[in-house]
């Protein structure tokens, strides 16, 4: 960006540049399936969708807690279920060698999926 286009900025220039760099369209948010890595590409897509659903379930659970209608037993069950789900996802990520950052999709103007 031309320097004469920066009319005002405050704070650390390094921090700002770092954040702007993150916004550049990269390859991280893409499903990169080729004949050689089709299994990994597919696994990434499937795990991303599972992670999205898991996070939606988690959100819904938080809403139910906010609602204040859950009994003590239901809370125990909910905690156990969510913990197991998260542990299972961690296992799957390890098997396919994915990090949390890998499991995301860039939806263009809509932002990132997760």
């Amino acid at each position: 960006m031309d320097e004469d286009k920066i009319l005002f900025y405050a704070g650390s220039a390094n921090e700002i540049v770092e954040e702007l760099e993150k916004m550049k369209p990269g390859t991280q948010g893409r499903i990169n399936a080729t004949p050689e890595n089709v299994e990994s590409g597919l696994a990434k897509l499937v795990l991303t969708l599972i992670e999205l659903i898991r996070k939606l379930i988690e959100k819904q659970a938080m809403r139910r807690i906010d609602g204040g209608s859950l009994t003590d037993d239901q809370i125990e069950n909910l905690g156990e279920t969510l913990m197991k789900l998260e542990n299972k996802m961690d296992e799957l990520k390890k098997i396919f060698n994915f990090t949390d950052k890998d499991l995301n999709l860039n939806l263009g103007p809509l932002g990132d999926l997760l």
Partner: protein, 249 residues
């Protein structure tokens, strides 16, 4: 030979001097620009010569710089890099078919410029607020989550994160609505970009009258004084890329 389209503007008396500017730009850039006109519109184009070269950043920046130079003096619809037609006749047909849409948007951007306004959490702020223990003290945690079992501890931790996210979303919403309200004195044309990283509070583009630049600068300085803990960035003026969306026929 393919025709590269750079910008479209109204064929009005105010734009009569465009041919002179285009000549100057041709000399400066070494690109032979042409003006294709219909009754109502003018397209600034050049003929693509030589072999097709791979897209490189330098070429994209050169294209953007040409549009920027034109936008400094005229109200234009800037084209995106890669806007190419097969022939002069195709460009004219494009102008004629979409004349009403082009003119409608040109009226909207008349004598206006685009600016980008960004407000970011500082790194320090993010570090401070990502600490799980740092839940807003005024918010009480549900009684039902208190307990020594692993399940409850797990849920309590999740709930803390949930509260942090909710607070963050409310804070961002509050600042955005404040911005929209306060910017109304300068413009109503404000759009928020959703494609933001975790550090962003606001990533907005605004279209303002050319004459309102100093007002905007004063507003931004005021904004920084209200939120000294955040980083404010204003860039521009840009051609109105974000306010010139047209579905071509």
């Amino acid at each position: 030979m393919p025709i590269i389209i750079y910008a479209i503007l109204e064929a009005s008396p105010a734009n009569e001097s465009i041919s002179h500017i285009i000549q100057t730009l041709s000399v400066k850039s070494g690109i032979q620009f042409e003006l294709l006109t219909t009754n109502e519109l003018i397209a600034i184009v050049s003929t693509k010569t030589g072999e097709t070269s791979a897209i490189c950043q330098e070429e994209v920046l050169r294209y953007a710089a040409i549009i920027d130079a034109i936008a400094k003096q005229y109200s234009i619809l800037p084209m995106r890099y890669g806007s190419v037609a097969a022939s002069h006749a195709d460009v004219k047909a494009l102008l004629e078919k979409n004349s009403d849409s082009f003119i409608k948007v040109l009226k909207k951007v008349q004598n206006k410029e685009e600016y980008s306004l960004r407000l970011l959490f500082s790194h320090q702020h993010q570090v401070d607020h990502l600490n799980d223990e740092d839940i807003a003290p005024t918010q009480s945690l549900p009684e039902i989550l208190q307990g020594d079992t692993e399940n409850k501890k797990y849920l309590l931790n999740k709930y803390r994160k949930h509260i942090l996210e909710e607070n963050r979303a409310k804070y961002i919403e509050h600042i955005q609505s404040m911005l929209v309200r306060d910017l109304q004195k300068i413009t109503e044309l404000v759009e928020f970009n959703k494609k933001i990283t975790h550090a962003f509070i606001v990533d907005a583009v605004l279209l303002i009258d050319r004459s309102a630049k100093s007002e905007l600068l004063a507003f931004v300085a005021h904004l920084q004084s209200i939120y000294p803990e955040h980083n404010v960035i204003l860039t521009g003026p840009w051609a109105p890329y974000n306010f010139a969306q047209i579905k071509l026929e």
